[in-house]
Amino acid sequence: MQNRVSLFGTHFIVEHSGRTPCVPCLRRPLRRLALLPSRQAGHLQAAIRCLAISRFSSTHRTRRHAPRATMEAMIARFQAEHPGLNIETTVIDREAYKTQIRNFLTADSPDVATWYAANRMRPYVEAGLFEDVSDLWEEEAIATNLASTKGAMTIDGKQWGVPYTYYQWGVYYRKDIYEELGLTEPANWDEFKSNCQAIVDSGRSCFTIGSKFLWTAGGWFDYLNLRTNGFDFHMDMAAGNVEWTDDRVRATFANWRELIDMGAFVENHQNYSWQEALPFMVNGESAGYLMGNFAVAPLREAGLTDDQLDFYQFPTINPGVEYAEDAPTDTFHIPANAANKEAAREFLRFVVSANEQTEINNGSNLGQLPVNASSSIDDDKFLNEGFAMLSSNSTGGVAQFFDRDFPAEMAAEAMQGFQEFMVFPDNLDDILNRLEKVRQRVY
């Protein structure tokens, strides 16, 4: 029992962080798996599987199991390096994990657990349930190689875990449609809008979006606000220091409204989940999708080739504002009640090491970006573009995502407001006043 490490993990490959609080089984493909410790040492329990009813879930079985296989393989390599350890792992489904983590952090803690960066980990940090691992971040190997994600792991000047994967957001678009209409990737807001106008005139919508589960609209707010007012302002807002009725916030919504009035977004988006919005792009009814890199896999599975599908960074709106991107990060933490913290620390070092990062984030595993600057990324068009964008062209800063940066309650209300705004832009004043009221209560 002395040298036993149990592992908890959640992660996913082509899906954004979970959104729907209930009946996840019907909406979520199998991609989200969590690792939980079982009572039988060394035995990997089967995941509680959900049946996926999603247009893109009927193919590529092996791919869907990739995240789990990646985790298992990674743990096996760690085991090989430390034959003295007896590792227990259990896998549970992702939605259940979100409620179970509250239980297992307080009682019967494992030695390692996965979670998400920034504000999403704040409740557990503040409740004293995550171990302070600032000591790890002072070590040379981590301090130099993981500097870019340090901010996301920091609360109150201390680091509370390590990242193991992240992915970029941006505009995925139908290159063939752009070529047909003689359009190029927009370099600024005016081109962005004129492109969009051309697409609308051709009888398509510029962007597909499914806002049923609200968070997708959060992505649009993130980008419009980051480009209109900049990263620091956005983070200041997340910290509750800016009124929602502020003129600068209104400027963001004014930009958004231009797109809405133009007819840029698919109609009836409030009915669709993000997966249900994919066919519009696949069928060529929509020319683009502001999404995370996890959208690439289902788009490819649906038959779009790399000649048809391309990516561009969300263009500048306000010339004085530096580029800043959303790049949600998934993380490993040590619960404060863990029994074997030394072995757990060793595991965290192992996870973020350059070789391991190269391995677990490659195309046949997670297919995302490694967090270690010395790792190499898989030769994938979108990963390369994303990596280049995040490492050299996101000088303003890197945000996590609306619902990871803003406190949960504020995020929930705000995303609902965004959806309403996208359907009834005239309700803006009402929405902003409501959000301002929530802001005053939450912070």
Partner: protein
Amino acid sequence: MATATSTETPADRGWYKRNEIAITPWLFLAPAILFFAVYVIIPIFQSIGISFYDWDGLGEARFVGVDNYVELLDDSAFEVSLWNNLKWLIFYLLAIPAGLFIALFLNQTVTGIRIYKSLFFFPFVLSQVVVGLVFSWFYLPNEGLLSNFLGWFGMGPVNVLGDPTWATYGIIAAGLWPQTAYCMILYLTGLNAVDPEQVEAARLDGARGWKMLWYVIIPQLKPATFIAFVVTIIGALRSFDLISIMTNGGPFGQTRVLSFYMFEKALSEYGFRMGYGAAIATVLFFIMLFFIAYFLWSMWKEEKGR
């Protein structure tokens, strides 16, 4: 042995033997009472207790008095949920007359009537989740059956679930499908118990059609109507799964009901305001209590009247 027992004086018998008749029912009830208390009664009071606290389920609970309730008064989402609950209560009751008429229609001897009956009962067997999915596809704005159907009559596509004014009614309509089947079954069994002699007598007196139904049949179906009323009211107040499946409370929270709102606030991904959720639950509990008290009272009156 029998004679020996009968000659014993009461004082000779054990305490249990003397009180057997009074105690035995309680012994049989004890497991049920125990579990009902532990899993239902005590949690009710606990939950009312939590509603006076500000608690995220992890850290320290902070006593805030009636602050949660004060906040509810000013919460537009709560108001929307309350109104939606009212809509559910009113329109869900349509299941009762609908169920009655289907039952009357099916209450005949035709070849294969059992098959028709079971087909009509079928929706009640389906999981609410399945019903919700089927209806959300039915309502889809472009591909959906409803929009196509309206298209034949030259009416434009409608987006029932995406329109804040219609979404709740759309969900209620979906809920009525299985609920009508349930009421139908209650009435079918009720119709079996209708006294043929009374029908005969009424017929001799010249009662026909609506009069027969209203003055002779329906009064005899009173027990079935009562049960249908109870299950429909309770069903309306605990509507949750359909909303969760069909709209997830949206568009922008316009289809929430109290139970869904409570779940969102207390247990969903962005929630964990246990105190606030408990306050919503308490309000819902008192609304239900009002109906339950009424049902119990009318049942008690019935018993006494006999």
